[in-house]
């Protein structure tokens, strides 16, 4: 990791050894630029990069590429999410080139939620390649300057390559090996699924460290502050791959309804404090879902401000 691979702010922050703090922002269900740029303002200066989700939960939204470009224009750094559900290899490579041309330097490579979850379940899914192969493709384009077919690229796209990891999905024993595969494919950084079951995550990170995987990439622990017990219940029951311990739901329920948001934030802050000390964790990915306006307060209270300038 001696030379910069993309020169993104996120890469520089991580490479300099800072504890990274990234945010997330969902594009609007429409072409409402004003609303989007308003959300950006809550994130500006409070995070190192912002994930721009790509038709998350398979619901149609403004394209993540376009929203990422709008973010660049506003002086924030996007982490452009790309799912394999909606694009074949031609569209994928073309969008990667386009992303670089628009000043985007981070990418998160994902398979994508199945369209069954979304608002167009009738859609044909693509899955020409999978997330693992997407990681390898972005790396090939960047490092070898070649397309998938080995033709040369005129000005290769330089991306800091991200991948997701869900330690809470099954089979648990295999998850660390799947992570290793993503690193072998070429992932530079990892953002985990929202963590709520801390016991399990501690165990997972121990396995990661034992295998030395944390030395081959930067792992950002996923945190989502709960707005209330209802949200915790809903996520536990309906969002795939979520592991929300009863103890957390009980904790949220134990306080008055109007104080549950504060209790959710407190739990998230406790998590951030632990992640700062946890071996192998290089930062936190704060997914304040439709709660962007809370990010300044959360960042402040998490004592991650000011963000490093590198």
């Amino acid at each position: 990791m001696s030379e910069l691979k993309s020169g993104s702010n996120l890469e520089k922050v991580l490479k300099a050894g800072h504890f990274a703090f990234t945010g997330e922002c969902g594009p609007p269900k429409g072409a409402n630029v004003e609303h989007l740029t308003e959300k950006f303002q809550y994130l500006k200066g409070n995070v190192d990069a912002v994930n721009i989700t790509d038709n998350q939960t398979a619901v149609v939204r403004m394209s993540s590429l376009a929203a990422s470009k709008l973010m660049v224009d506003e002086g924030l750094e996007p982490n452009f999410q790309m799912v394999c559900r909606d694009r074949n290899r031609l569209a994928i490579m073309s969008d990667i080139l386009g992303a670089h041309a628009l000043g985007i330097r981070n990418m998160l490579c994902l398979s994508g939620d199945h369209q069954t979850f979304g608002n167009h379940p009738q859609a044909k899914n693509v899955h020409d390649i999978d997330s693992m192969q997407l990681i390898a493709l972005v790396k090939k384009m960047r490092d070898e300057g070649k397309f998938m077919n080995d033709e040369d690229i005129d000005v290769p796209p330089k991306m800091f390559i991200g991948a997701a990891c869900n330690p809470f999905a099954d089979p648990y024993e295999y998850r660390v090996y799947r992570l290793a595969n993503k690193l072998e494919a070429g992932a530079d950084f990892i953002q985990t699924q929202c963590i709520f079951n801390m016991d399990k995550f501690r165990d997972f990170m121990k396995k990661v460290v034992d295998m030395g995987l944390h030395e081959k990439c930067y792992i950002l622990a996923g945190v989502t502050p709960m707005k209330n017990a209802g949200m915790a219940n809903f996520m536990s029951r309906f969002v795939p791959g979520m592991d929300i311990p009863d103890s957390l739901i009980k904790r949220l329920k134990s306080v008055d309804k109007r104080d549950q948001a504060e209790e959710g934030i407190r739990f998230a802050l406790e998590q951030v404090e632990e992640f700062k000390e946890m071996e192998g964790v290089a930062g936190v990915h704060m997914m304040a879902i439709e709660w962007e306006h809370k990010v300044p307060e959360i960042a402040e209270r998490a004592k991650v401000l000011p963000r490093p300038v590198v």
Partner: protein, 225 residues
């Protein structure tokens, strides 16, 4: 085999609402095995349609005929002397049948009476499950004999995705996560190394993506076998 589901009586009745005399053509191939288009099912459909039309005060004359196979021109030719006796023909074969019929008898109208669903088999009496996507490049030996192209909702070659939970796919609780089964089989067999590394990108030209496919066996074409 090819598995199919019968279309609803309502849909079939709507197809032939203007016809007075029809033929229902069954097939002794896959659709007989999966209990959707054999003699028994042809008879049931004919009776149901007659009753429904009688109720409407619009009687329909229905004959039935079960072909040896509707995917073979030799057998399709077997109805040449009767096919013009009807206003329309409902085929209870897979999607191949009504096409072979349409291609041979250009002046007749053939309606599909079933929805052709997948290549699969019966896992228990009355339950059929998909096993093959017909991608044209079989590699199941790389996945413990289980096909992720057909059986993973995202056709992942490097699964399982983050939505796999307790052996169940994220799309619904009745769908097995085939990657869970692949991984567990490999781990139980002490063959974890087979799942280390990145499985390469698939060439979809042999699948439907490469356009309609054709399989030519020269030795048969030339009549040597």
């Amino acid at each position: 085999m090819i598995v199919a589901d019968r279309k609803s009586l309502q849909e079939i009745l709507a197809m032939v609402k203007d016809n007075k005399k029809i033929l229902i053509a069954g097939c002794k191939g896959c659709v007989t095995v999966c209990n959707v288009g054999g003699l028994k099912e042809v008879e049931i459909l004919a009776s149901s349609m007659k009753i429904a039309r009688k109720k409407e005060g619009n009687d329909i004359d229905i004959d039935i005929h079960v072909l040896e196979r509707q995917c073979d021109t030799e057998y399709v030719a077997g109805i040449s002397d009767i096919v013009d006796d009807y206003d329309a023909v409902i085929s209870l074969a897979c999607g191949v049948g009504p096409q072979f019929l349409s291609e041979m008898y250009k002046d007749q109208t053939f309606y599909p009476g079933v929805n052709t669903t997948f290549f699969g088999g019966a896992t228990q009496h009355g339950v059929w499950e998909e096993r093959c996507a017909g991608c044209g490049t079989c590699a199941i030996h790389n996945f413990g004999g289980l096909c992720p192209v057909a059986r993973c909702a995202k056709s992942l070659l490097n699964g399982p995705c983050g939505g796999s939970s307790n052996g169940v796919c994220e799309i619904n609780k009745d769908t097995e996560c085939i990657w869970d089964s692949i991984v567990r089989k490999k781990m139980d067999a002490g063959q974890l190394e087979d799942l280390i590394g990145v499985k390469g990108i698939k060439d979809w030209r042999t699948a439907r993506d490469g356009g309609p496919r054709r399989s030519i066996r020269e030795e048969l074409v030339q009549g040597n076998i």
